[in-house]
Symmetry: C2
Subunit: 307 residues, 2 copies
Amino acid sequence: MVYYLPRTALRALAPAMSLLGLLAPGAGAQAPTPAPLTPAKILADAPPGAWRKVAPENLLMMTLAGGGRVAIELAPEFAPAHVANIVRLARAGWFDGTSINRAQDNYVVQWGDATEAKPLPAAIVANPPAEYERPAAGLAFDALPYRDAYAPRIGFVAGQPAAAEGNIAWLAHCYGMVGVGRSNAPDTGTGAELYAVIGHGPRHLDRNIALVGRVIDNMGDLAARRRGTAALGFYADPAEREAIVSVRLAADLPAAERPAYEVLGTDRPAFAAWVKARANRKDDFFIRPAGAVDLCNALPPVRKAGG
Amino acid sequence: MVYYLPRTALRALAPAMSLLGLLAPGAGAQAPTPAPLTPAKILADAPPGAWRKVAPENLLMMTLAGGGRVAIELAPEFAPAHVANIVRLARAGWFDGTSINRAQDNYVVQWGDATEAKPLPAAIVANPPAEYERPAAGLAFDALPYRDAYAPRIGFVAGQPAAAEGNIAWLAHCYGMVGVGRSNAPDTGTGAELYAVIGHGPRHLDRNIALVGRVIDNMGDLAARRRGTAALGFYADPAEREAIVSVRLAADLPAAERPAYEVLGTDRPAFAAWVKARANRKDDFFIRPAGAVDLCNALPPVRKAGG
């Protein structure tokens, strides 16, 4: 009853250790000739101009008590009032000493002031508008030519996963996207309570919450946190919360301490080639290319600048 | 330039603490009347017949040194030879004393014998066939009426996320799905090296690896593991590996120790109502229902039997 695919005769090529490397993105790049055009090889061969530098004004660095250093690229194109609040909070050092308070499996990790009583700086807009979507006009929307369950059009804007319908565009809740917690009323999220997506993209939140950016480094420091056992994944014991040492805008750090990242430009030929290769894997491991890729599985690659 | 959604006048209803509960699936169930038909309410009201008992012969329990107890429902309909091998390994106690060896962020956690030298029991089929897809005929395929990037048809078979094209069906790499590590040759995965998906569903692996089941309890015990720093997320230091105390089939446990789970039957009206409510969230928090849901965001709910 089982449908057997044709077997290949590649086994002699497979060293014993490759059993452990079985899921290697681009592992085939080490395979004997002819070298397949893997996603990894496309990245390695991409010219410097294929990479876009992350502006230090849009780069938020969060240092955790355990040593983690999470990098977030902000998306002011979509949620300017929320991003402005977050920048003000960072500049005021407001997040310092707050904590990670929630880790709900296959959903979100959330951080901010656990007491909800810490006063906000005077400059904070207490009720920013509901920046959940915006006109598509004026955005450079690099479309992805594949189907999506949630939207008729998908792609990338300024390196962030996005979707559109008619003349409206919005950011998409993919793994690693950062959003602003809010209460039931749409204007109740100040930016003082943030979350990052840690599971399969909960895209039903799209157009319902303000997304403000994407984690571009050390996402594992958030995603690997022990799940909370109280309702919604909150930590039952305050001791389980990890303290946030600091949240700073990279632009505000001394030049010597300023991290620098590059993201593969979604308007560049190398990105198009990378997406196509991810959708049509052809290395020695893959038997049947998918022929497509989900929006959240095509997030632009990131590297340390100069790397 | 920003498109402002209409604001609602719900703020007076929102208690201060709900800022922390902002992402609650079904949090609206506690809202004042009229109570919306939330996914949580549909589950709470589902009749006993809406729940399918997980057969103890298909339930694999993995106990970790740290106390985690991961439950996996096996899918023999799709990978009978691989599942038979895994059952033989569990019955032989072969996994006991092996370890979790890899945690690659937004991809997989993988376990088995880190040395790759532990002899397999004689009964193990060393080169099982490539059970990556099978004829759709003979399967009860409960279709999901939404778009998918990877396949023309999606749905559920025996509670597992699945896809189909023409007369061929296969299991889908959603969060929590368990697969068999292999080398480049399709018949090199014995079942002694397993992985679970811990990020956005890497559906490009569909039809390329044998999926054997789904984690139905304590997935967080796998997903929250510290990411490995060696290539592909392997642990650089063997001390980082978490030992596996035991892997047993529930049917082989003494009755008093046998966990019992129920999964919402995907052929039942309650499941259809739950999917529809997830696709069209209408509680006090949601402003704009998605109108659809991704296959991997509609995995059948699970509960302890009798719960």
